[in-house]
């Protein structure tokens, strides 16, 4: 798509309270590389949701797909989470149709799980990050590189910690809606991550 924003990265991740720390790690890690994280959390308005999701994907140059929580959810009726693999399928189709304008990365917490949960992707090496948010930062560093200034592990960790602290202040401020998985908190976290990245990786600032 001609209008793809080359500095945007689509985050296809679970919106689950147990996943909050990982969610913040993706925001911080992607921001450290000079990319703006985007997610379906932003989608509002009357247009059909699927159309808006596809538009958002097509607007992004990169996408990160975390399939670690493709499992039965806790609330009744217990159903598998199909959204993440479905959105990955949309991206794969999109990238196959226009190969030069989108790069996608599959993230998993455990090795060999993807072969079982989504064997159609055999031959694709997922980025295995293990149990911690630090693993996500490490694997983003393995997936992306910059020629001008490469964010270091320490810088990424510092940005992540500052975003975590900002998230805590946001939750304190928003007593009525303490979830980070909503449009406004997400937008603010992205701005906070960008500011923190500006401070920690000053070499990447525009002249």
């Amino acid at each position: 798509m001609a209008g793809a924003q080359r500095d945007s990265a689509f985050l296809n991740i679970p919106y689950d309270p147990s996943y909050e720390e990982h969610f913040l790690a993706y925001i911080a890690g992607v921001a450290a590389f000079g990319l703006d994280p985007r997610a379906t959390l932003e989608l509002t308005g009357g247009e059909r949701r699927l159309d808006r999701i596809f538009k958002l994907i097509a607007d992004c140059r990169y996408s990160f797909h975390d399939l670690s929580l493709v499992e039965l959810d806790r609330s009744s009726p217990a159903t598998p989470r199909f959204n993440m693999p479905f959105e990955l399928g949309l991206v794969v189709g999109w990238q196959t149709a226009s190969p030069s304008i989108h790069d996608w990365f599959v993230f998993e917490s455990s090795r060999h799980r993807l072969q079982k949960s989504l064997s159609d992707l055999n031959g694709t090496d997922p980025f295995i990050y293990g149990p911690s948010a630090d693993g996500i930062l490490r694997e983003i560093r393995n997936a992306l590189a910059r020629h001008d200034v490469q964010p270091t592990a320490t810088q990424m960790r510092s940005i992540f910690e500052e975003v975590q602290e900002y998230a805590s202040s946001l939750i304190r401020e928003e007593k009525g809606a303490p979830s980070l998985f909503e449009a406004r908190p997400f937008a603010e976290l992205v701005v906070a991550a960008r500011r923190s990245a500006e401070v920690w990786v000053p070499g990447l600032l525009r002249p």
Partner: protein, 61 residues
């Protein structure tokens, strides 16, 4: 071994990101202030911890 994908886009400014995310100028200023305060607090603590560690090292030497 996998080769990383090269990101070659210019780094967006906080104002460009805020505009893209639909965050108002007023709120962006507030966010910048909060993040800068967090950063300053953490830097101060880091310096204090470093100084403490130095004193400890000197005492044990």
């Amino acid at each position: 071994m996998r080769t990383p994908v090269i990101v070659d886009t210019p780094y967006p400014t906080v104002w460009q990101t805020a505009k893209k995310m639909g965050v108002s100028k007023k709120r962006t200023l507030e966010i910048i202030k909060i993040v800068d305060e967090i950063h300053a607090r953490r830097e101060k603590k880091r310096k204090e911890d470093r100084a403490l560690a130095r004193v400890k090292r000197l005492k044990t030497a």
